[in-house]
Symmetry: none
Subunit: 201 residues, 4 copies
Amino acid sequence: MTAQLATAATDKRRVILDAAVRVFARQGFHTCRVSDIADDAGVAYGLVYHYFSSKEQILDTLFLERWDVMLVAIAQADATQQAPREKLRAIAAFIIDSYRHDPELMKVIIVEVTRAANTFGRTHLAKIREAYGQIAAIVARAQSEGTFRKEITPEFAALAFYGSIEQVLSGWIFDRMPVDDQELERAKTLIVETICRGLER
Amino acid sequence: MTAQLATAATDKRRVILDAAVRVFARQGFHTCRVSDIADDAGVAYGLVYHYFSSKEQILDTLFLERWDVMLVAIAQADATQQAPREKLRAIAAFIIDSYRHDPELMKVIIVEVTRAANTFGRTHLAKIREAYGQIAAIVARAQSEGTFRKEITPEFAALAFYGSIEQVLSGWIFDRMPVDDQELERAKTLIVETICRGLER
Amino acid sequence: MTAQLATAATDKRRVILDAAVRVFARQGFHTCRVSDIADDAGVAYGLVYHYFSSKEQILDTLFLERWDVMLVAIAQADATQQAPREKLRAIAAFIIDSYRHDPELMKVIIVEVTRAANTFGRTHLAKIREAYGQIAAIVARAQSEGTFRKEITPEFAALAFYGSIEQVLSGWIFDRMPVDDQELERAKTLIVETICRGLER
Amino acid sequence: MTAQLATAATDKRRVILDAAVRVFARQGFHTCRVSDIADDAGVAYGLVYHYFSSKEQILDTLFLERWDVMLVAIAQADATQQAPREKLRAIAAFIIDSYRHDPELMKVIIVEVTRAANTFGRTHLAKIREAYGQIAAIVARAQSEGTFRKEITPEFAALAFYGSIEQVLSGWIFDRMPVDDQELERAKTLIVETICRGLER
DNA sequence: CATGAATGAGACTTCATTCAT
DNA sequence: TATGAATGAAGTCTCATTCAT
């Protein structure tokens, strides 16, 4: 524990990444300068390039770190014995809790990557689609089990489900609602209620 | 008619706007240069600044032109005597038909404005929210009429509804699916089926 | 004539090239900044990039302009009916007169291109060798005519001839001898005396 | 002897110098990074600065080491009782054999120092001219002895002689001729034949 | 209305050098 | 002696915008 703290205190790479989250969230990727990140991190300009080959690679790193965690979370939700609706609720809950835990990071990932498909989203398209694919697979299985009706294609369902969540998060991000925990919990229910009910028999 | 064509043929302002749509769609707003637009339009560099005060203002113009049309379309849908589900279907249909009619323009509006909330979306947030508000109003009325259940807030319903549509369009835009008319029609139904069913009693 | 002067006065591209000669000669290609060229030319920084795609391309242009003139001069010398020794003298004279006429330009070409074979010379190797080839051809013909002896290969003779001249110019360039016209004339004779005598029967 | 080998094996200073020769030859002095040298030498970055005060000093060291050997060789050639032509042949032979023995080192010295008069050549001008001076002295003595004719100044003769050799070596270096021993031997003769014959009575 | 040359601030990236361990 | 993280100055190139014609 002490060792971890000590490490954390001197891991400049991590310090830079954390600063990048704050700076990207505040100023946006295109608008900020590398020096803003260095300043915010309290390190020398050049150190950023000691650890990362470019400003882009910093964002890549942030995205991939987080997105991989989410892919694992989705896979775990799917691996349980719960009903499809509960699996989807778990996924929505994970994303919303991610926002609660680190809203700036989620803002960066959504605004600068998943919804910036012309630039970074392009690069990470395959990775992003993995998530849609996993969700679609859950829907498809629910359909063959007879829990969900077959009128709606799994791919469409996945897009609608994920799109709803992201839009709600976007609302929080840009309307700057002071979001309390209760509202976050309620959102999980509303998403499941709205989307799953449309999917179920 | 001939006069209109003649006008159209020499309305350099329009020529520039149309070129901007193509260039923004192809290269992205941040990545393209003003000269790319001038080149694509076949006009001199400086002429762009004769008609527009900045690169941003070109995008503003494109967005506002189109968004206002959509706000009118939503208002018209709401003004009819149809059932709420049909009103929402009309809105989804309008957006999807907009994509069918000019996919590049829709790509620009979605990618560079509504989903680029850190930059342009910020500027046009109020305008964008007008649309959500109109949709929410339709839901709210349906709830007080008893057609829609009250568990889901109108605001949330609007976000989920609009978010689903935009996500589906994003899929088309970036997965470059060669979309045929049949698929577009089907999408309208799927959206209504998924979302409205979740909203209805 | 008036037109030419007017053109000369406003041809910023030429102004930049002339400034580049001075700056490259004074500070060296690697050591100078593009802003030094712009400053010396009295133009804005960006204008350099309006006319040239990079600092390298400026040097390329200077080299190619001059080298092509020299290739023509060599070809003209060869096209005459003079004795081989006189042809070589004409070539030596051309190079030395080039130095007299514009010592800074010759310095740049020799120091930054022909003798910087690791960088620019590499790029222009083929062009540089054309000159050697033309000289070698003169020697070869003199040999088959019986004027020059055959023990020395034409290629070697060309290198020795050109190398001697360049070394002498380098001496002038870096020892900063205040060179008078008489010395320049004498150098022409010395080169021919030294090298041609070694080549002749 | 064993001790010497052991020392040699761990003399990191030497290891760095040898690596520098390879790296300078391959990438050029201006284009390579200090880290490239450290990597090629297999030592830590900082160690380079333990042994050398700057990147320049590494090149200085390489040049001075070798050039001093050459000055000695020229002095030795001059100290013999041979005819002037044979003295010059010995010098040409020494330079060409240096190339045969370590072409990369010769490439570095010629390309980065003696022919880079704007940068390093400037620093070492005096040292470089010592060689010219020694050669000129040989010529001058040959002239007063009556072996060489007096029309050509000794200084000019030295430049022409050395310039020819360096040009031939440059040809080998950049045309990447696969040079065999026979060709090297022949070059020695050709240089002496070409230049000395022009100098002799 | 039309042209495109001219301007210059701004940002990324590189890399020699230093320094704490 | 050895390591490599840390520093920060410097320079190239870009490009939105202006302006003279």
